[in-house]
């Protein structure tokens, strides 16, 4: 696992030497900040702030952010030719995929940590439900991990970053709209089945309201494991080409 940490550290370094990471962080903070201030004006003096405010917002943001964070991870290695060196280095494909995935997840975690400033502000002026906040953040952290794993898979699939980003955005969007799927299907049972397959279906009714359900954790962990497995397969297919 030393190689995983090496790849992870190299990726993190490359995030922070390029201006892109900072620009993403700035945009991210602006987006969450506007939402936070907006909610603040409504909640002021009337009710406690929704502890899941930022996590709820991120369920939508991740549809665009996850592809942005992952599109270059494997696609760029292919374009620059470094993939050839990685695949001939004495490390397993799993280590490569895991290192890449963890780097994206860690960067996302850092972005998430930045939004804790809002929680600090809320704590200084009210008594919010801390454990509810923790549940919601845990949920969106896992949710983010799942979206990033999906993004990584598409990055492994193609050399073209734009194509990778577009495809993962499409898939994430489809996985997201479960929330609204009831409006097009007529049967509740079908709606519930689809709902239980979607990313949102394992966040909105549980983590967002302060519940940690075992099945939701398994769902996100399962999506991550399957997407990483598929990424390894895609990487392997690259050797055959």
């Amino acid at each position: 696992m030393r190689s995983v940490s090496l790849i992870l550290r190299r990726e993190m370094a490359s995030y922070f030497t390029s201006p892109i990471a900072y620009l993403i962080a700035a945009g991210f903070l602006l987006l969450t900040g506007v939402s936070f201030n907006n909610e603040l004006t409504f909640a002021l003096g009337v009710r406690p702030l929704d502890p899941a405010l930022i996590p709820r917002l991120l369920t939508q943001v991740m549809i665009f952010l996850a592809p942005l964070l992952t599109m270059r991870l494997l696609a760029e290695e292919s374009r620059e030719g470094t993939m050839e060196l990685l695949l001939t280095a004495p490390i397993s494909d799993l280590a490569i995929v895991l290192g890449k995935f963890l780097s994206a997840w860690l960067f996302y975690t850092l972005l998430l940590a930045l939004t804790l400033v809002y929680q600090v502000i809320v704590f200084s002026v009210s008594r919010p439900d801390l454990a509810h906040v923790i549940a919601a953040y845990l949920g969106i952290w896992l949710y983010g991990g799942a979206t990033l794993a999906i993004g990584l898979f598409f990055s492994a699939l193609t050399e073209n970053q734009i194509v990778a980003a577009f495809l993962s955005m499409v898939v994430l969007f489809v996985l997201y709209i479960g929330e609204n799927v009831g409006q097009i299907v007529a049967s509740v049972d079908l709606a519930r089945l689809i709902f239980s397959l979607t990313l949102q279906g394992h966040f909105a009714p549980s983590f967002a309201v302060g519940l940690i359900r075992g099945e939701d954790v398994i769902y996100y962990a399962g999506v991550i494991v399957v997407a990483l497995y598929l990424s390894i397969q895609a990487l392997d297919a690259r050797r055959l080409r």
Partner: protein, 233 residues
């Protein structure tokens, strides 16, 4: 060091290489010679462990590439035809990364050693993207030997760089002979003649001839090459 037996790689029905066999020992520089598309790169990629062969066997310093891929790959330093670089890393960071990834003992020391060898130590803090083409080529060579592998595979290492650098690279390959088995490819007859101990002539994916350059016996490499590729297999 390198044992290649009956190696074939098919893309669908088309054979990129077919039944290639040869050996290379430590202290030997073996050149793969052939026109573009002869199968030089494919052969090297298979040996380096990038592409799995359709058939055949590769043994690298006693380790079978298919049975024990990770150990076998650790025996190889590889420079692909297109130099693979991370443009946003520093020169030192780049080499150190590969040294560590290949579990080089005392990686920092080795990194310094090879960077000094290639005259890059002074530029160690520069970003890779800022290097000239020739320097990038040298950096590619540095990563290939930083872990001191018994086997070094260099795919057309002199392509696209200026004549002075070409001389330096050839000089370097010569130096490698003492401690490594070197497999190197070129489509330049003169280069192979000058650098190699042995040349394997590839054409249309097959080994057409194998020439020990010290035993040419009056015939020029060019003549051997032309007769090898014109004859029917």
């Amino acid at each position: 060091m390198i044992v290649v037996q009956e190696l074939s790689k098919y893309y669908g029905q088309r054979a990129a290489i077919e039944s290639i066999s040869f050996r290379a020992e430590r202290g030997e520089i073996v050149g793969l010679l052939g026109v573009n598309g002869a199968g030089k790169s494919t052969t090297m990629r298979v040996i380096a462990g990038y592409i799995p062969p359709t058939r055949g066997r590769v043994e690298l310093a006693g380790h079978d590439l298919l049975d024990d891929p990770l150990t076998a790959r650790a025996q190889v330093g590889y420079l692909p035809e297109r130099v693979p670089l991370y443009p946003d890393m520093t020169v030192e960071g780049y080499v150190l990364f590969w040294a560590r990834l290949r579990r080089t003992p005392r990686a920092a020391e080795r990194t310094r050693h090879v960077l000094e060898r290639f005259d890059l130590w002074g530029r160690r803090r520069q970003l890779v993207r800022a290097l000239s083409k020739g320097l990038k080529q040298r950096l590619g060579l540095a990563q290939a030997i930083v872990h001191n592998p018994p086997i070094v595979i260099l795919d057309e290492p002199t392509i696209g760089i200026d004549p002075q650098q070409v001389v330096e690279v050839r000089q370097f390959i010569h130096e490698l002979r003492d401690h490594h088995a070197v497999l190197f490819s070129s489509h330049l007859l003169a280069e192979v003649e000058q650098v190699c101990d042995r040349a394997i002539i590839l054409h249309q994916g097959r080994v057409r001839d194998e020439v020990r350059l010290s035993q040419l016996g009056g015939v020029s490499l060019e003549q051997r090459f032309m007769s090898a590729i014109s004859g029917r297999a």
